[in-house]
Amino acid sequence: MKLNMNIPEGHISEKWTNHKFNMKLVNPANKRKFDVIVVGTGLAGAAAAATLGELGYKVKAFTYHDSSRRAHSIAAQGGINAAKNYQNDGDSIYRLFYDTVKGGDFRSREANVHRLAEVSNNIIDQCVAQGVPFAREYGGTLANRSFGGAQVSRTFYARGETGQQLLLGAYSSFNRQVKLGNVQVYHRKEMLDLVLADGRAVGITVRDLVDGKVESFSAQAVILATGGYSNVFFLSTSAMNCNATAIWRAHKKGAAFANPCYTQIHPTCLPVHGEGQSKLVLMSESLRNDGRIWVPAKPGDHRPPGEIPEDERDYYLERRYPSFGNLAPRDISSRSAKYVCDEGKGVNGGKAVYLDFADAINRIGEDAVRDKYGNLFEMYENITGENPYKVPMKIYPAPHYTMGGLWVDYNLMSNIPGLFVTGEANFSDHGANRLGASALMQGLADGYFIVPYTIGNYFGSEKPEKVDVNRPEFKEAEQNVKDGTNKLLSINGSQTVDEIHKKLGHLLIDKVGMSRDEAGLKQVIEDIRKLRDEFWSDVKVTGKAEDLNQNLERAGRVADFLELGELMAVDSLKRDESCGAHFREEHQTPDGEAIRNDEDFSYVAAWEYVEPGKWNLHKEDLKFEFVELATRSYK
């Protein structure tokens, strides 16, 4: 396997422009001869499907939901970044590019990130034209707010529902193409295999989630826009159905998986209430602007928070990071919370820390706090039953986003010709850590403004042929899917799918979560292998294959998580440095700061699948020509 980045020549600010000129075009009349399969209809998928449809390609879009509007892009709260500089505060494409590379702890590909910053402005124009009701100033112009990791105000937002509004925008353009007949949408079908012929991606095999029918679809290119894999942890802020199956099965067919160990743990989520918890809910990071984070100073202090006097509290972020205090970046805040809870100082000895607004209420009054955070406080009270104006909130970090994903070149094509990967499903832009309000930007950039061009280049230069679904490659994939399904149904063991998934989640969050070390990683690889064996010998999946069977759906996804989890640990073990969200205990300063090793680890780890439990590592060296490598410091 050879990784070819296909990064265009020239100065970083000219690469994308030059590339657009140099790319092959497809004659408008010929476009309808090209079929494209888009899997996943969230921001990246719906945007790509809509734009490709507008261009005249024939698109088949697949979602396992009943509607493309359900994708988890919808849950993004905060906003979307763009280098518009509407606030006249010195923002620029270069600054957005620089902040993103730095935020990613210098583990992303410069050329991709710069392009992302370049098209960020087009995204805002596009969304406004779609009728996305962004927040406005009284004069009628667009409003902005600031977000973590940036010193400028560049985040566009629509209340706390930016993701919803952007997705509905993409969904509307998508629907227009469905009506025009350029996009054919397939609901409630889950991709279970990628089909290759002559070394190219030529189609997918899906299972209909209503009647269980397994069938294949062919196309000259396949786009995977299937999101991230945070649900490998069982408890995460991802939606219940988010899974890695599409990218994982593509990986097993030869697509390299890049940087699987880069998983973001978001610091301000609601703590786990008990074993029955199904997922975690994020509270906007903005709360840290006014809330103070603390734990009881003595382990085992189980008094109610109001009875713990000031001098017996540990405001650990303010103590350790006096200049950034409660606004330390996501990875640092998360890790610190874990440390104090591991010391037994968590609330009631458990996994939670206080986020206290008492000082803010004293300072600016309850009404002012309500003005700023009213809806978040309401949501908190609705979920926990506690009034955060009276009792401090309890929070704990939770898996939230995965920077890793399938490896792609500058054209967002994987190492398999014809297989493109967009949005959270690829690894491309966020390096080892993603900044707030950048996920929406990347999904839409990939979908609206990048892949529609680069896919044309693929068609224009490679001229892939149409492939018949009756070819043996498709029949073989269908048989594999059916065999896999029947195998799951035939085990009839004693543990439910969720039970095993929870065990996997515990293993991973413990050993491949906020901080990792060699011994733990070696151990967890063994444990995951054992758990995988346990799954294949003792899982119980009820019902039939030819039916609506949610138990079976989950079983297939967990089977893949059990393999992916191992690769995450393998990658973490190999990356013997601390960078961004990946923190290795062995590599820290005496006061607990991450130590990056640019000499040995300034590369993208692209893993090639060999057989279960065995991968080959391919390294894509990262060259930083336009930004200077620096150590992040938030002291």
């Binding site: 809509a50 507008e54 009943d66 509007r69 779609q130 529902e161 509307s172 008990g274 029955g276 009820t542």
Partner: protein, 254 residues
């Protein structure tokens, strides 16, 4: 987090397939007051799976009240008795120990039951495809600040655009009318300058698709607004009515 579990008697609608005859099945559960009603069903399903029985099929995804996937009718209320709350955000502390809950799927002819508590909401898709968009192609947008929009209008448009497309309005309506859903989308565009060129075609296309999909007519009971997890206002229906009447009476389009 140590409050006592609450014990409930559940009557849950079970139906094997769209054509099968369904019935209520009774379960007894003990659940933490901190769990959501869907987590209660997860737990029940885990128990059923362990016993080798078929778990209850129900849909949910984000569990943050925004994706619109979930939707159960609990004691006659779509999304349960708590106002402005989606099913996934309905926590068990809102119920009393010993209470009996009837859990049913959304009922409407246009939302046929697929299995147990899952209904098919494809009618909503058809409506959105009929006209829920602004026609322009990627790349042709002017600068985002080229058209100033009054804050009030942007806010009103967002109020309408907050609809999560769950179908609770249809489920709550005694006529299974989808007017709140359609009105919200029509309003979002009718309030914004971007929506003006197609304003009067859009409303006609979307209403026609709504009628085609088999939803009932609105008789202004406003049950939809009362049960909507996002509190979408029936003023959006009024706006749609007005646009529709104007379109039919005064416009030459469609």
């Amino acid at each position: 987090m140590s409050e006592k579990n609450i014990n409930l008697k559940l009557h849950i609608w079970r139906q094997e397939s769209p054509s099968a005859k369904g019935s209520f099945e009774e379960f007894k559960v003990s659940v933490s007051p901190h769990a959501s009603i869907l987590e209660m069903l997860d737990d029940l399903n885990n128990r059923l799976e362990k016993e080798g029985k078929i778990p209850i099929s129900f849909e949910s995804d984000c569990r943050e009240g925004i994706c619109g996937t979930c939707g159960l009718v609990v004691n006659g209320h779509p999304h349960g008795p708590l106002p402005k709350t989606a099913t996934c955000q309905l926590h068990m502390r809102n119920f009393k120990d010993g209470e009996t809950l009837y859990i049913e799927p959304f009922r409407a002819k246009a939302f046929p039951v697929m299995k147990d508590l899952i209904v098919d909401r494809v009618g909503f898709e058809k409506i959105q495809q009929a006209g829920g968009y602004v026609s322009f192609n990627t790349g042709s947008a002017p600068d985002a600040n080229a058209i100033p929009i009054a804050k009030e209008m942007a806010d009103l448009a967002l109020d309408a655009a907050e609809c999560i497309g769950c179908g609770a309005c249809v489920a709550a309506c005694k006529n299974a009318s989808a007017m709140l859903f359609v009105g919200a989308k029509v309003s979002q565009f009718a309030l914004l300058p971007q929506g003006q060129p197609e304003r009067y075609e859009r409303v006609q296309f979307m209403v026609a698709a709504m009628d085609e999909a088999g939803f009932g007519s609105c008789t202004n009971t406003y049950a939809c607004e009362a049960e909507c997890p996002k509190g979408i206002s029936v003023k959006n229906i009024a706006r749609m009515n007005r646009d529709y009447i104007v379109a039919k009476v005064a416009k030459r389009t469609a």
